[in-house]
């Protein structure tokens, strides 16, 4: 089955991003396809590479980046939600006069159309977080 994943919560406060990660990983391991992972609302905060959790805690962003690296996942951060919360790639940082980009490896910034397309193309859209 072809899944699309939508994540609406940031890392650490709620478990939604962790659950989404576990689901995505399990789906891949069971032979399913992941069309796209779309980060929306506070979910865009999963895409900053500046998070430094304690070493005995999981690093949600790094888990996503690693999984994406391994399975060539398309991790998309909603541009409007990201701009509000200060998640930027090189282009965005330059355009808005910010010091440096902070988007994590394998994440990319794009628009809400990517969510709609994921809904159309996937067999199931799974939504995690409120």
């Amino acid at each position: 089955m072809k899944f699309a994943i939508q994540i609406n919560e940031g890392p650490f406060t709620h478990q939604a991003a962790d659950t989404a990660y576990q689901f995505t990983k399990a789906a891949i391991e069971n032979g399913h396809d992941i069309f796209r992972v779309f980060f929306y609302h506070d979910g865009v905060n999963n895409g900053t590479m500046y998070g430094v959790p304690p070493v005995d805690d999981r690093n949600v962003q790094a888990l996503w980046s690693d999984l994406a690296e391994k399975h060539d996942l398309d991790l998309v951060v909603c541009v409007a939600a990201a701009q509000r919360r200060g998640i930027m790639d090189e282009d965005e940082a330059k355009r808005h006069g910010k010091g440096a980009a902070n988007i994590a490896p394998k994440f990319r910034i794009s628009g809400l159309g990517q969510l709609i397309e994921a809904g159309i193309q996937a067999d199931r859209l799974m939504v995690f977080g409120d």
Binding site: A81, L112, G113, I116, E117, G119, I120, Q121, L125, V127
Partner: protein, 135 residues
Amino acid sequence: MSTTKKFTYINRKAPYGSVYALESLEVVLIGAAFEQEVQLVFVDDGVYQLTKGQETDGIGMKNFSKTYAALGDYDVNQIYVCEQSLADRGLTLDDLQALTYEDEDDDWAEKSSMNLVNREQLSDLISDADVLLNF
């Protein structure tokens, strides 16, 4: 992209106090460009999103309530409001904006987009959806 799916948006929260109502509207408007079948459901505090006469100056938030009136122009004309949720809040359809659309199959006659639904009809709407987006 030739596939047409039924996108059903469930709006459950008040228009202010959280970002969800505004974000839902954003997705609906952008999604309209993909020419899918779209249904909007307003339930629980979500019914407040459509109330007339919203005034937000006092809370420093953008008043986006007028945008709903434009939905008809985006071919978003299936609006479903939970009658129980309205009744629980002492509201009737008269307290909500009368959203309309122009029916291209009927000489562009102006028609109402608003539908009152009970719990049973609501669950049918949810069952029939291909893509369910909760806000």
